[in-house]
Symmetry: C2
């Protein structure tokens, strides 16, 4: 066989992640590798921790990236906080609540499911009913920003309910971190995990997590060992802990940490609130364009995430054919529907570095061109002016 | 706080990994990110699989990188092949056999330990005795190349014993892959995991694994679900499987896969047997230098790994002080002893791109200089000529 170097096509990434990675982050990623116990690397780890605390708005000492993607961050939260026989209340309003259920059950625990329609926020009343009906529950888990639907739930209210009923709260913030308000300490979240490839605009592969004092207390006082050696926070703390002395646990993904550091620096330079505001402003522009075109959102306005826009595919339009043409002709990636929404929605990401005016123009222009050419029932030629009007007013 | 871009110091990496990463791999790593379901990325995944099959010498369909470091590759093998109540025979002759025990126990299974001295190879007779004494055992696990000691065990013989007693064999090849002979199909290994940051000279963070038909059969016919959702090969197969249709499981570490592809390309270009031979030849030169200096190996010649050289620290020499000076003055990283060998040995890696003449010269020169300056009982000025003689004769 004939193998050659791989030069990726240049894409505009407006799916549910990865989002566009800025050049300076790619450059940081490609800097020379050093050892995972090198004093210079240990200093970098400390800075990454401090910057993550800022971006997560927390003073939690146990704040760090797990050396694997967001799915492993999710698993880290569950395997550390849940024990066999526990009851865990899982609020599901999309794909990722279902993955939480899988995690609970694989820990040998029982998942009490609180279901809301896909595209809706989690209903606090339903959670409260479940908490009252299951006083022995130890943990509540929910998704702050459902990547599969673009719906946002009220994390503060849900965490408060969990605490009122003596449960710890595990929160999926994969898509919310750095894209919309998220305040780990103020909202008293106990365990949170995120991804690097969404609103941090870093490469995929590692997963920031943070654990409150209450969560740490539970982890230190477990009845049995964490079922995953790799994700056992008791061991990981020895490597990511305080001071110059770090115990070898696993070989950290050194270059991925360089990239995360640079991504966090960029958020710090912009200012977290400014980043949230940018996501909001660009969402307003994209939304104006999509709605002018005739595409409707599946999430009501009050619960819509600015960074993940799920719109209904117009009747009679071939989902895959549109996405294929966008990718082949316009080098634009938008996301397909997941699970129950497959074939029914497109998910348009405006995350991190992808949340910028050039991308809005590229996306609205390409969608208008391709849908018009395919004879889809949309309003042609109005999307870009509508978006521009919003941007000009901002 | 004042945060700045991180520019790592330039090191010569001769510890137990990460090893020096060639510029072309770092460059591949930093290429623009594309989506994990992009058709161009799916094609790349296929090439990575084919190249991994070559480097592992296997036709196993289920050959791919796990999206996390070697420790997670280890865990992937155990959680997929072991079920609660199973008996697993673990051969331990260093740190990583102990980690295998942890994995077995966290799967709810019983680990029958077969102990050999650290620095020795696994004794096949002891394994056979354990297999006879435990006819209900389902699995044998051992480390092919113990990174903590530099000892190599006879994988072919150990696997054959396992099969004769109806066990599957899990093999740790973290340090052997691409550095010394390893033939997954010829030796009939059932499950194998490795790392990218050793003899592949890629950045750390992902872990190549491969499963035989027998192993796949066991995974498909488990009594209960794999306890890790993230590492469940039944699900991962849907993403890394055959054909153009890939089911989303997790977001792959896209850029790390670019880098792995380039690293595998380099092995393919050099030729696997040539890479093994290079590691052998450079080891001979380093060994000649170290022995001339008066440093002794802890592993006997027959079982010594060419890529990981564990030498005894001379009496009265301050381990940490030497390593600190090597790092600060010579920008050279060598490895400390792990576990029982902490403070007693140095581990000098000659792995992948670190296995080259410049590194041998740098290492012998720096060690000679620092140890002589510290008044250590070594033969000064003889290491480099001894190494040169071996290289000249090769």
């Amino acid at each position: 066989m004939d193998f050659r170097a791989f030069h990726p096509p240049l894409r505009t990434l407006m799916g549910p992640g990865p989002s566009d990675v800025p050049h300076r982050i790619l450059e940081a990623l490609g800097r020379p590798t050093i050892g995972h116990l090198d004093p210079a690397f240990v200093d970098l780890m400390d800075e990454v921790k401090t910057l993550l605390q800022y971006v997560m708005q927390t003073q939690n000492e146990l704040t760090m990236p797990i050396s694997a993607p967001g799915s492993a961050g999710m698993e880290a939260c569950f395997v550390n906080l849940v024990e066999p026989g526990d009851k865990v209340i899982v609020c599901q309003n999309g794909v990722f609540g279902g993955r939480m259920k899988e995690n609970v059950e694989r820990c040998g625990a029982e998942a009490i499911m609180v279901q809301d329609a896909w595209g809706s926020a989690v209903d606090p009343q339903k959670l409260e009913d479940a908490l009252i009906a299951n006083p022995e529950a130890t943990t509540v888990a929910f998704v702050h920003a459902e990547t599969s639907t673009g719906a946002q739930s009220d994390a503060q209210v849900l965490v408060e309910l969990a605490h009122r009923h003596n449960c710890l709260a595990i929160v999926d913030a994969v898509t919310s971190l750095a894209g919309s308000p998220l305040k780990v300490d103020e909202w008293e979240i106990d365990a949170i995990y995120s991804g690097t490839q969404k609103c941090l605009s870093c490469v995929p592969g590692i997963s920031p997590v943070s654990f409150s004092e209450r969560a740490q207390h539970r982890i230190r006082n477990r009845r049995r060992k964490v079922q995953s050696w790799f994700l056992d926070m008791n061991l990981i703390m020895g490597y990511w802990g305080q001071g110059a002395k770090r115990a070898y646990h696993h070989t950290a993904p050194v270059n991925a940490i360089y990239a995360l550091h640079e991504a966090l620096l960029m958020v710090h330079e912009e200012g977290l609130e400014n980043a949230w505001e940018r996501h909001r402003r660009n969402h307003d522009a994209l939304r104006a364009g999509l709605e002018a075109m005739g595409l409707g959102f599946i999430v009501d306005e009050a619960h819509r995430l600015p960074q993940l826009n799920a719109v209904s595919i117009p009747a009679g339009v071939d989902d895959a054919a549109v996405r294929t043409r966008l990718l082949r002709e316009h080098h634009l990636e938008i996301g397909a529907g997941l699970g129950d929404l497959a074939g029914k929605v497109w998910r348009i990401g405006l995350m991190g570095y992808s949340s910028r005016i050039e991308n809005i123009t590229a996306c609205l222009g390409a969608l208008d061109a391709v849908l018009t050419d395919m004879g889809a029932p949309i309003n042609h030629g109005v999307a870009l002016p509508a978006a521009e009007k919003v941007l000009a007013a901002a």
